[in-house]
């Protein structure tokens, strides 16, 4: 009886931990690509990690935010799967030092204030010295975790393709 209760508790814990398992794999994939972590913000439901894109001539950093939406409980996992939104933001940093450039940047900041992110699309934003491009997608956690190397390769391909898409949008803004 004791073992049965423990196994039940363990299964529930593993179900709740799927987003953390994916985040761990994201950290490892990014690390293998030469992008170490430089910031963690993590609590029970949402995790954000910032990666330093060392030696990337264009990007300064990438933020990845994972927000668990379904599948924490047995019923919702069975009905809806284990879904989370994955938000990827790539940042270009321009070291603005010319007052004329600063004025131009301020106007763009203001124009971007009321823009909202669109699911699947890429949103561009200026914040002081940074130009940010963001996309958001819904992922099924089970497609990438607990599947060994094929799952990791799929995750790697997903991250690389999405970051490349963001880089393409940001390239004209690098000064």
């Amino acid at each position: 009886m004791f073992n049965l209760m423990q196994n039940f508790a363990h299964k529930a814990e593993m179900r709740e931990s799927k987003d953390e398992i994916l985040l761990g794999e994201i950290v490892r994939v990014m690390s293998r690509r030469g992008h170490p972590t430089i910031q963690f913000r993590a609590n029970d439901d949402i995790q954000q990690v910032q990666f330093k894109t060392v030696r990337d001539p264009l990007l300064h950093s990438v933020f990845i935010t994972l927000d668990r939406k379904t599948g924490s409980g047995a019923l919702s996992a069975a009905l809806l799967g284990s879904k989370a939104t994955l938000r990827i933001t790539a940042e270009v940093k321009n070291r603005m030092a010319d007052p004329d450039d600063l004025i131009a940047m301020y106007r763009t900041d203001l124009a971007n204030m009321f823009k909202m992110p669109v699911l699947g699309g890429i949103k561009l934003n200026h914040e002081m010295n940074s130009v940010l491009a963001t996309l958001q997608l819904v992922v099924e956690l089970d497609h990438y975790i607990l599947k060994g190397d094929p799952g990791i390769e799929k995750l790697d391909a997903l991250l690389v393709s999405r970051i490349d898409a963001l880089k393409e949008k940001l390239e004209p803004y690098k000064k």
């Binding site: 953390e20 690390s31 972590t37 910031q39 609590n43 995790q47 007052p99």
Partner: protein, 267 residues
């Protein structure tokens, strides 16, 4: 041997080595200029940057590396230059040197998070999965599980020297509690662990090497954990290079010792 390219003034790309000062860097060209002026880097130091086949003499590249550094901020106003352009140029120089400072300050603040990511990567590489993560920027908590044998590793990390001044004086240090847990599946053994946990509670400041015990009746896990102080500089270089092999060996040795203790005590 020539330089493969001239780094940007604020780009941290130069590694310096001297008999007196040991290895320094990577630093930017502006950083090199400051350290040469203060005497922290001697004239007979060696230099290396990515793309060079080996270490070269700093004196052979000194002129090229420092040539244009003062020009944007301190060069006097020429007759052709308007006052507006001149003041913009002076302002630009002030902003650029501020970026130098900020980059160094940021690195000293987030090096623990570089280390945390390295702990995750190294632990995943030996077959564990991350199952819990909590972080407020200074205090970090990680829990891993080997999904085959259900053993667990727990890491609690606190950055002790956040901030440039403190890290310059003491180096980058952190306190770490590393734990290893197994599911015992036996009520009496877990109760023994919980009693041991209560005794562990009387240890106010565990010293390095003190192994404390923790038990969780609901999950059936018993953990043994040890307090350590780690020198993050030994694992993370200034250019964000991480010594994963060294880190994996150190975590592996610690969990090996804890596993032996746990099995010896509760088997």
């Amino acid at each position: 041997m020539g330089l493969p390219r001239l780094p940007r003034p604020d780009e941290v790309a130069l590694h310096i080595h001297s008999r007196e000062g040991g290895r320094v860097g990577p630093i930017s060209r502006r950083g090199l200029q400051r350290q040469l002026a203060s005497g922290a880097i001697p004239e007979d130091a060696r230099l290396w940057m990515e793309g060079m086949e080996g270490w070269g003499w700093l004196r052979e590249h000194r002129e090229a590396l420092l040539a244009d550094l003062d020009a944007p901020s301190v060069a006097p106003r020429s007759p052709e230059e308007s006052e507006d352009d001149y003041l913009d140029r002076v302002f630009g120089g002030l902003v650029r040197s501020s970026w130098d400072y900020l980059e160094e300050h940021r690195f000293s603040t987030h090096i623990d998070e570089v280390f945390l990511g390295a702990v995750i990567t190294s632990t995943l590489d030996v077959g564990y999965s991350l199952i819990d993560l909590k972080s407020d920027g200074t205090h970090h908590y990680l829990r891993f599980e080997d999904l085959q044998d259900q053993s667990r590793i727990v890491v609690r990390l606190t950055h002790l020297t956040s901030g440039l001044a403190l890290s310059k004086v003491l180096g980058q240090r952190s306190s770490a509690v590393i734990g290893y847990g197994e599911k015992l599946g036996n009520v009496s053994k877990i109760m023994t662990a919980i009693r041991a946990e209560m005794k562990s509670g009387y240890i106010r400041d565990p010293e390095p090497g003190t192994i404390t015990v923790d038990g969780d009746l609901s999950s059936g896990y018993v953990y043994c954990q040890v307090d350590l102080y780690l020198d993050i500089d030994a694992y993370v270089e200034r250019d964000y290079t991480v010594h994963h092999d060294k880190l994996a060996t150190h975590i592996g040795a610690t969990t090996h010792a804890l596993r032996k203790y746990l099995r010896g005590r509760f088997a």
